[in-house]
Chain length 313, copies 2
Amino acid sequence: VIYDRMAVIGCGLIGSSVIRAARAAGAVGSVAVADANPAHRAEIEALGYADLVTADPAEAVRDADLVVFAVPVLAMGPAAAAATAALKPGATVTDVGSVKVSVGDALRAAVPAGVHLVPGHPIAGTEQSGPASGFAELFRGRWVILTPEPDGDAAYLEAVERLSGFWGALGAQVDAMDAAHHDLVLAVTSHLPHLIAYNIVGTAADMEEVTQAEVMKYSAGGFRDFTRIAASDPTMWRDIFLANKDAVLEILGRFTEDLQALSRAIRWGEGDKLFDLFSRTRDIRRGIIIAGQESAEPNFGRDRSPPAGGATP
Amino acid sequence: VIYDRMAVIGCGLIGSSVIRAARAAGAVGSVAVADANPAHRAEIEALGYADLVTADPAEAVRDADLVVFAVPVLAMGPAAAAATAALKPGATVTDVGSVKVSVGDALRAAVPAGVHLVPGHPIAGTEQSGPASGFAELFRGRWVILTPEPDGDAAYLEAVERLSGFWGALGAQVDAMDAAHHDLVLAVTSHLPHLIAYNIVGTAADMEEVTQAEVMKYSAGGFRDFTRIAASDPTMWRDIFLANKDAVLEILGRFTEDLQALSRAIRWGEGDKLFDLFSRTRDIRRGIIIAGQESAEPNFGRDRSPPAGGATP
């Protein structure tokens, strides 16, 4: 047991996966959950993996040695403010938000002296949402980025060490970096990909000359891949784009610039330019597979068996 | 047996999958293969699924009842021209190209009277290339679009019917449509997705502030999904963008327009606009899963077991 009592504030895909993984690893003694959504609370009660389920963050964090905020990023500040008075001295407060500068600021404003704030972000997830969608293996082999305070004392460094050990026990690998750098890296590896995916699915849905039925039937040509991340939780992603506006707009500007060059190469029939780019991009995927972050199987392995709903003539 | 002898011109992922699937289904008697690449020919000989392997399209198509051109789209015309004189009267000529107007024109110029030209396109594939990457199940549950000539006589219609039956025997579902409409539909469901994927991977690779190692390590946040289709064959995709230029540029224009609106909504903090789009896009994925074109499992099912190369601390 790494923490006698863990409180999770917000129990969707990530919050519930943290609980399942921590329980499976024997990393926590007892678990308290706070969730503002009555339907979520009922689901968590039914799933039976929490010792206490409440709507009130203050009630959940009482006596907790580790508090994990796992609400949408713009809800982090209010949730932490609601818990402030009940936080146990010496406890560690962390979060799982995909934006670290603004979330760190919001949590810092709510966490009193004597409580260790170590913002964090597990780079893991699926396109599903809600407490029932979580699973214990979600963090296995994935990276967790912590953005600890630069000026921490010995007790603080010990708290960071302990939190790293907690994520390690859940199967994750842990890195630490500056919050601003995290936000730029994630704008590239997560936020821009989601923005592009949402956008292309929206563009396809709005075409007049091509029906939605056609888009769906013929989606195996590549389009279907984008629909996965475009099925992610709308509230979570709205908050991320608003909370990491500057980094997202910067990366989006680069992307658009590159896309215009590509468009121009197509218009003028510059096949060499296309071929050069298309050849370079293969190496990146190879690197991701070698880094253990992706399946090496063709089509993500999903064609090993025909899809459940697959109609054959 | 639907065709006594099949010739496949160009034996990469798709060509070799057609052969394997046709053999598995007992849809062909014998198989001849022409491939311009000596390494491919050696691979095909070693795999042992062709009765004749040659560099010469004319030699391959001699006596064939079905000829399938499966070379990159800009190579279709030259390959067909090389085979013209040897085509058997009454034979059916088809192809698997992702562009149908220009490929249809190129094939039409090379196919003599008395041979039935029925252009086609199986909406199936993986990010891998070459004869060894093909597999018999590739077309199962997928759609094949045929773009037959509008003014065919009874013998022609019979040839179309027989080709539809052939694809059905390989597990595919068959649709027919106008070539120009095909090119617009595929620009949406396949060509734009590939262009966007290649572009975002290129943008990420060129960042100075974020290292390639960081992009790879933290790619599970969404980016890794895009690297799959950005690992597709560079020659094939160069040709597609050049051969379907007008439709691709039109759809790309729409995409860019929508992306600018999204960018503006982020800049001005218009959360409602973001939320609305992000909510709409979920339905499309649900439709694709219902249409049997996608796995319903989270993360494409790839996290059922940890990735092969996955390092755990």
